[in-house]
Symmetry: C2
Subunit: 190 residues, 2 copies
């Protein structure tokens, strides 16, 4: 659990020992196999997962095609944040791309955190802002960068991912076809 607490400190800015113990006690360690769905599009969002290891893909169907919105990895949360917080149906399916280890919290437990942790909503708010900032950056990358620039920028910050998951999903997440991705990669490799 030490790892979870460390991450909660990093993510939510919470340092009080009691609060950390309280929060982490509500998360359950879970192993899942490659291919397992943590969430199906359109369903209720009942759980939030914190990634210890492995990769999970967020995607939605659009005109019969799967569009990958995000690939979560260690230290991130697997959840359709919108659905989880507001109760709306999940906009994404979430599927493990590799065997994965997660800490999972149930929605009903999550909703009690404010009773357990002083200033919980304040921390949560800061977490949301961070998520918002990430999204804002991604939009800007689509307004101002070419596919090749997006590739390089993403590669610089996520090198390990390129060896671990099918590249077609990274391509989709960056808004380009698998073939374009492959050609940019070839150039890059030499």
């Amino acid at each position: 659990m030490a790892e979870l607490e460390k991450y909660i400190t990093n993510y939510f800015g919470i340092t009080e020992q009691n609060a950390l113990k309280g929060i982490s006690s509500l998360f359950k360690y879970t192993k899942i196999n490659k291919g397992t769905f943590l969430q199906k599009q359109g369903n209720h969002c009942n759980t939030m997962g914190f990634v210890l290891s492995g990769y999970q893909r967020f995607f939605a169907l659009m005109d019969g095609k799967e569009v990958t919105q995000w690939i979560a990895h260690q230290g991130e949360f697997t959840v359709d944040l919108t659905g989880f917080i507001t109760g709306s149906p999940s906009r994404w399916s979430i599927q493990a791309l590799t065997d994965s280890e997660l800490y999972i919290i149930q929605k009903s437990d999550y909703d009690r955190l404010d009773q357990l942790v002083p200033r919980w909503f304040e921390f949560e708010k800061l977490f949301m802002v961070r998520c918002f900032t990430t999204m804002e950056d991604r939009i800007f990358s689509h307004l101002s960068m070419t596919a090749e620039e997006r590739y390089h920028f993403f590669f610089k910050h996520n090198k390990e991912l390129f060896n671990r998951v099918p590249l077609q999903y990274i391509a989709s997440m960056l808004g380009m076809s698998a073939e374009t991705f492959s050609r940019i990669r070839k150039k890059q490799l030499g």
Copy 2:
């Protein structure tokens, strides 16, 4: 002020009369002329504006070109949310595209809202989630839609904007050149 309170209810889900009075008392009515900067990129974010009328463009310089990230209108907030909440330098410049009326709150007053409004952080959190969802939708539109589809989708929901501000900014915000925008528009008009 009634209008502001109505919007605060819609945006933040706050309905208690005392809370609404308290919040709206911290906002100051302000008129600004077309061209005025509410925020300059790189500066501190000291104010948050609530739009009563007019249009304000968020943009950043990228390789010497201005990229429009968003155009705010009535009922929205003009602020670099990230900078305003976290204290980081503003990522955007914000400039009035038309004469505008705003309610403006100072950061120092905003930071006292939690003492004034019970459950303020909780409301604020929900506000952040809504902003996050909007961004997530926009990203998905770039991953799954053509320029023409983005045009039509945006037009459907923002018809009035097309008569009020230079179209080149809408084009930039949708991630296409002004010429492409013009051609799509021509097709659409007949």
